[in-house]
């Protein structure tokens, strides 16, 4: 059972601070930074289980180094899969020339993801080579791998330190280094800031294969759904090497809308709206 989840509960009402420290001290010493990092990742995933399915509207604002903006609008649907990666479907509404294009992905924890693209003008469902995860999503600063569901098995972890959370400095965050196991990832490592209380990710730094800082993500405007699931409504990704940035705004999040496996089918893509 997740130790840190336990820790967040009101243990202090039962134990004095001194007793707690004494009780946890042996564990803390026995735990390596790697073990602690893994434990945080497991708890983060565990606190976000059981949402079944969801739908949301998304808007991406792409800015280049000169400040010129370009907008994308899409709707996404997700289906939670226990013991494997989730299924996702994204339908594009803007730009108008790609309206109706749909992207279906079955993410997997250890194997490569399965991905299909539906091209409405050709009425064609095209399989995509799944190693294409480091490429930009719709010309934005988000890579395909940044958009896919968080799975514990995808990374090795290392706890670095505790510090005040970015965006909300009144909270304390775990700072954890994640190293992708997939050699086709575009990153050498990611450093994430996760708050102690609710395991929300407030910030992530992405390092390229040359180990230089590539991008920084900040998540904000978190809202609580079904009394249990925190969702960020604003994600800002800045590319430090190109000066380009993307803001991803999420709206109209709905849970348990009745989506099933059949709504995430290659055949269903042909009639998706």
């Amino acid at each position: 059972m997740p130790l840190f989840k336990f820790k967040t509960k009101r243990i202090s009402t039962y134990l004095t601070a001194g007793l707690l420290t004494a009780a946890l001290a042996p564990f803390a010493q026995a735990q390596t930074p790697e073990e602690k990092g893994l434990e945080i990742a497991k708890t983060r995933k565990a606190t976000d289980r059981g949402w079944n399915n969801s739908e949301q509207d998304m808007k991406m604002i792409l800015r280049n180094a000169q400040g010129n903006e370009s907008v994308r609008e899409m709707r996404s649907r997700a289906l939670e899969i226990t013991n494997d990666g989730d299924k996702g479907l994204t339908i594009f509404d803007k730009p108008r020339d790609v309206k109706g294009t749909a992207f279906l992905s079955f993410s997997h924890t250890l194997e490569p993801d399965d991905q299909w693209l539906y091209l409405p003008a050709l009425k064609r469902v095209k399989r995509i080579s799944s190693r294409n995860k480091s490429g930009p999503f719709m010309g934005s600063e988000f890579a395909y791998e940044d958009m896919s569901s968080f799975e514990v098995e995808k990374y090795d972890y290392k706890f670095l330190r505790d510090e005040a959370c970015p965006v909300q400095p009144e909270l304390t965050c775990y700072v954890v280094e994640s190293n992708p196991k997939d050699k086709f990832s575009g990153y050498s490592k990611t450093i994430v800031w996760i708050d102690h209380k609710e395991y929300r990710m407030f910030k992530a730094e992405y390092y390229d294969k040359k180990k230089d800082l590539l991008k920084t993500l900040e998540s904000s405007e978190y809202k609580l759904y079904l009394d249990k699931y925190w969702r960020a409504h604003k994600l800002s990704m800045v590319n430090h090497q190109t000066g380009k940035s993307t803001v991803l705004l999420t709206d109209n999040i709905r849970f348990n809308t009745g989506l099933t496996d059949k709504d995430f089918d290659k055949n269903t893509l042909k009639r998706i709206r």
């Binding site: 064609r124 399989r127 190693r131």
Partner: protein, 401 residues
């Protein structure tokens, strides 16, 4: 032209039915208006042929959601007008399709478009729709096909059955047009079957995804979408008449994904009383290099080999040909892409073609494309000889709204 009239009647009836019964529903509209200009770089093979050609087209998709559950009606008229070649004028119903979605089945009825297959440079298995070869030289544009389609979506795959009650004749360039046979093609076509364009065609397809494999098996029985040409003497001299035989076609398509590689195969066997029975296949791979030179650019490499056992370059341009293609995707905000392809006939070393297609978005929703095609053919026996003088550059601007 009377054929179009009849076809239009059916679709207009469908459309008016749709508009009367769905008036309470909100309609979504998605449209495209395109303007294109073509410049042919060489003197034409025939003196009446043009050097420059302009066209305007429009496509308007009306969508009605019929009470959720995926049920809907789509009506998509299309028009095209050409500055030089009146044969290129067209009013078509690309789609007028009612869809009903059941639990593990779907029914479509009306006019629509269906794509089968996996390869990039040639579509052998794809047979439901007639190609609108005057819309785009690459053969990716299709005429609307009247149909009733039943799909069963089961654990063992997807089974689709088609009844195709009406046949669409191919369109051919007129005397002023380029990219055509040297002899004029008569407006009136001939058919093997007495029912002519009203012959009822049938098709069946099973497709399934098994792990890294996507497979499909298909059968078709009906009027061949590909015309054969009969030399005919008219009062104006020698001409060609399109002839549509009855055929049976069995098709196989398979694709395997393996890391960065996509392996593809399509094969068909076509038989008929009035055609030379034949087997044809195309196979190859697509390989993608992601993040080329540490940039955001992807480079896709395509290599496909096509084979046709008729072994007669006079009837097929793909009897023993190798096609190499590259696809540069910049992954920028403007979705800039450049496609390049080179095709070599392995029987006729002088027969080659080369194309470059580049496109980028300007502003919110305007796409500008620049295409260029170059042909080489020295042998009058080879079908590509017809277009040896028709190298062209085309600029296309499409507005989406």
């Amino acid at each position: 032209m009377h054929i179009m009239k009849k076809f239009n009647l059916i679709t207009l009836a469908l459309a008016s039915l749709a508009s009367t019964s769905f008036t309470s529903q909100a309609v979504e509209l998605h449209s495209q208006i395109g303007i294109e200009a073509r410049y042919f770089t060489q003197d034409p093979a025939q003196s009446e042929q043009t050097d420059t050609q302009g066209a305007i087209r429009g496509e308007f998709e009306f969508y009605w959601d019929l009470g959720g559950n995926g049920n809907n009606f789509i009506f998509k008229p299309y028009f095209r007008a050409d500055s030089e070649d009146s044969e290129r004028h067209l009013i078509d119903i690309r789609e007028a399709m009612y869809l009903h979605v059941g639990d593990d089945w779907e029914v479509r009825a009306g006019v629509g478009k269906v794509f089968w297959g996996v390869t990039e440079t040639l579509h052998l298995v794809d047979i439901i729709n007639q190609t609108d070869q005057l819309a785009a030289f690459d053969g990716e544009e299709k005429l609307g096909q009247p149909m009733v389609q039943l799909s069963l979506i089961r654990d063992w795959g997807v089974l689709e059955a088609f009844v195709l009650p009406y046949f669409r004749e191919a369109d051919f360039a007129g005397a002023e047009g380029r990219l055509r046979a040297p002899l004029p093609i008569l407006d009136e076509a001939k058919y093997e079957d007495d029912d002519e364009e009203n012959h009822i065609d049938f098709a069946l397809r099973w497709s399934h995804t098994l792990g890294d494999w996507d497979v499909g098996l298909s059968l078709f029985d009906g009027t061949s979408r590909q015309a054969e040409f009969l030399p005919t003497v008219t009062k104006d001299g020698l001409a060609l008449q399109a002839f549509y035989p009855q055929i049976q076609q069995a098709g196989l398509d398979a694709q395997m994904v393996s890391g960065d590689w996509l392996w593809k195969l399509e094969a068909i066997n076509r038989t008929g009383d009035l055609i030379t029975d034949y087997t044809a296949a195309i196979g190859g791979f697509e390989y993608t290099l992601v993040g080329l030179f540490d940039s955001d650019m992807d480079l896709g490499l395509v290599a496909e080999y096509s084979y046709d056992d008729r072994d007669d370059a006079g009837v097929t341009a793909n009897q023993n040909d190798l096609i190499l293609g590259t696809r540069w995707v910049l992954n920028d905000a403007e979705s800039t892409e450049v496609l390049m392809g080179f095709s070599q006939d392995l029987d006729y070393s002088d027969t080659q073609s080369l194309f470059i297609e580049g496109s980028t978005r300007v502003g919110e929703s305007t796409v500008i494309s620049l295409d260029a095609w170059f042909f080489t053919s020295d042998d009058p026996e080879e079908i590509s000889y017809n277009v040896r003088k028709d190298d062209f550059i085309q600029l296309d601007v499409a507005f989406y709204f």
